[in-house]
Amino acid sequence: MEELDRKPKTSDDDHVDELLNRDYEAGFVTDIESESLPPGLDEGVIREISKRKEEPEFMLEFRLNAFREWQKMQEPEWAHVNYEKVDYQSISYYSAPKLNDGPKSLDEVDPELLATYEKLGISLKEQEVLAGVQGAPKVAVDAVFDSVSVATTFKETLNEAGVIFCPISEACREHPELVQKYLGTVVPTGDNFFAALNSAVFSDGSFVYIPEGVRCPMELSTYFRINAANTGQFERTIIIADKGSYVSYLEGCTAPMRDENQLHAAVVELVALDDAEIKYSTVQNWYPGDENGKGGIYNFVTKRADCRGVNSKVSWTQVETGSAITWKYPSCILTGDNSVGEFYSVAVTNKRQEADTGTKMIHVGKNTRSTVISKGISAGRSNNSYRGLIKILPNAEGARNYTQCDSLLMGDQCGAHTFPYIEGKNPSAQVEHEATTSKISEDQLFYCLQRGLSEEDAVGLIVNGFCKEVMKNLPMEFAVEAQKLLGISLEGSVG
């Protein structure tokens, strides 16, 4: 184990100032009537969640088992983040807008909800496209509001291709055999504290199944919104790509500005069978809290992919700009021979944000390959850590990994840390790790200003250049959003 902990201090820091403020544009609250369970967690609450969702018996058992495991577990403390402990009995584990049995079609969705997503730039109308990008392909959206899915678009087009894309609560009822076959097989209920909690109380999330040989005809996306106060969001997403299939899936998240911290503990399980490929992209913009560290989302997420089949491939691309605390390691278990895992990450922290993020690549099969490109940008008084594990098991003949980990510091009050762990049990494996730490230099800034760019545009440009290798992996309509978001997150951090 090696720790590269650098906080360079140079004379440049005199010019790179303490930050100003920026407004969190997604910070509004939707005024909508909702039904919540009272705060607190016991078996009764879990039974109630399962009952409200009209789940089959195996689901209730899954939840109760997880709850019993969770009760025996301790909250992890190894991550390089500091936060006030969560009082798990003060959170409400279920909140749903009042829907009268849920919408039958898009026309029946509460206009207040439609307006909320509209305001966030997410169109739930099928004739429109995301983010106003001309010529962008259509995107099917599953909109999750607090604990429930409120709308899923393009269902018919997807049905024709045999693709299942629906809220997981619907999948539990309509496709119980698929859910039972895959749920908890990538992230077991007892995997970690937050995964166990999620398994016990998860409310909604998306379920995707791509049948054998099908290339999903459009991008699929889920948009998560936390609205209600004092609620946690515990979504569960499962994506199964059957043999020879392909899917690209996008995930976006926002929450209102609130003074209290809110918990988001999600679990995502991906399964890629023989020759299948899953591209999973996240743009995470949960409310980060204010400049004094008040409020913001605790983002404790377990995301894991099992490249179960030969020649299968999973790519994680994430742009993480929000949340007060991020604890997240999208990982790949490279089980199938020749399978490929990729992790491309941009994590931006500003103000008092703390992020501990990275990946695990577990090489099980022969000739498995993984690539990790991580770009951490820290500003303000934030802390940004990369934590990565590359594990080569004894049978992973010819496994290869390449890891590149770059940190960019803005100002002298932030921190960047790199924790790479390598466990190699096969001598034929090749593992490469490169790490750099740099700053936006005065030279670069002045050069841009001298060409007529404003300071904000200059910072945006330099930062986007730094993240280029990651951003180019995002689907086009998301890349535009993500680029803007990077600029906004860092607004006022130099000056």
Partner: protein
């Protein structure tokens, strides 16, 4: 166009410019020569508005306005261009993307419509040809892995595209072989016009054979110690800075 009076400037606590007077009219080309460390780059930075280069006395007016109060980006948008002695690398940002952002920032400032990708490409191609700039330099990240000569050529390419009013060239000749020097000088000469002025900073007389100045000034110890016509440069070449610097 540009009027510098009794200009004093320092970096940190160190006084570098100690009373510079200079007037530049539209259409003129002034050469500033002087030994290393005499303050040539400092003068360029002060005029371009670099942070940390503080004017402690005197005044600079540009087109009748006080220049000193303006930020660097505003000066650039007002038509002041600096070709850097050491051009800066910006990884991951393509040269053409960067330059288009700059062109559009300046157009926006002037209240003009932004150029779309096609419009920009047309303009850029035309200017690249003028400077014999290899096509791949447009698409590579700004200055990253460029040879010394390519960097300097790229600075003049930016200048040609941005069409500034006042061009400051800081040792554009250093690092160029003779062929590259000629190409760059041709590019610069093609930009000479009755309403554009240039201040050409150089350590050597060589560049002035190709870009013939109207006036030559010798900078030493933060002051202009001698001014003359183009023959002054030839004289310096023959005799060195020796006497002037000592004076």
């Amino acid at each position: 166009m540009l009027k510098i009076e009794n200009l004093h400037a320092s970096v940190g606590d160190k006084a570098i410019l100690k009373g510079i007077n200079l007037e530049v009219k539209p259409g003129e080309v002034h050469a500033i020569m002087g030994p290393n460390g005499s303050g040539k780059s400092t003068l360029s930075y002060v005029l371009a508005g670099r942070d940390g280069y503080e004017v402690t006395d005197g005044s600079v007016t540009y087109n009748g306005e006080d220049l000193i109060e303006k930020d660097a980006d505003e000066r650039a948008c007002d038509g002041i261009y600096l070709a850097f002695q050491y051009p800066v690398e910006i990884p991951g940002v393509s040269n053409s993307y960067f330059l288009r952002a700059a062109v559009n920032a300046q157009r926006k400032h002037r209240g003009e419509d932004e150029l779309d990708a096609m419009g920009f490409l047309k303009l850029a191609r035309e200017k690249a040809k003028l400077l014999e700039l290899p096509d791949n330099l447009m698409h590579r990240p700004v200055n990253v892995g460029f040879s010394g000569g390519e960097k300097k050529r790229n600075e003049i390419f930016h200048m040609a595209v941005l069409e500034p009013q006042l061009c400051l060239l800081d040792e554009t000749d250093s690092g160029l072989d003779i062929d590259a020097l000629k190409t760059v000088a041709n590019g610069v000469n093609s930009l000479r016009s009755p309403d554009r002025a240039m201040i050409v900073v150089t350590h050597y007389q060589r560049l002035l054979d190709y870009i013939v100045p109207d006036q030559v000034h010798v900078l030493s110890g933060g002051k202009i110690v001698k001014s003359g016509d183009k023959d002054l440069a030839k004289q310096l070449e023959a005799e060195g800075y020796g006497d002037l610097v000592a004076a």
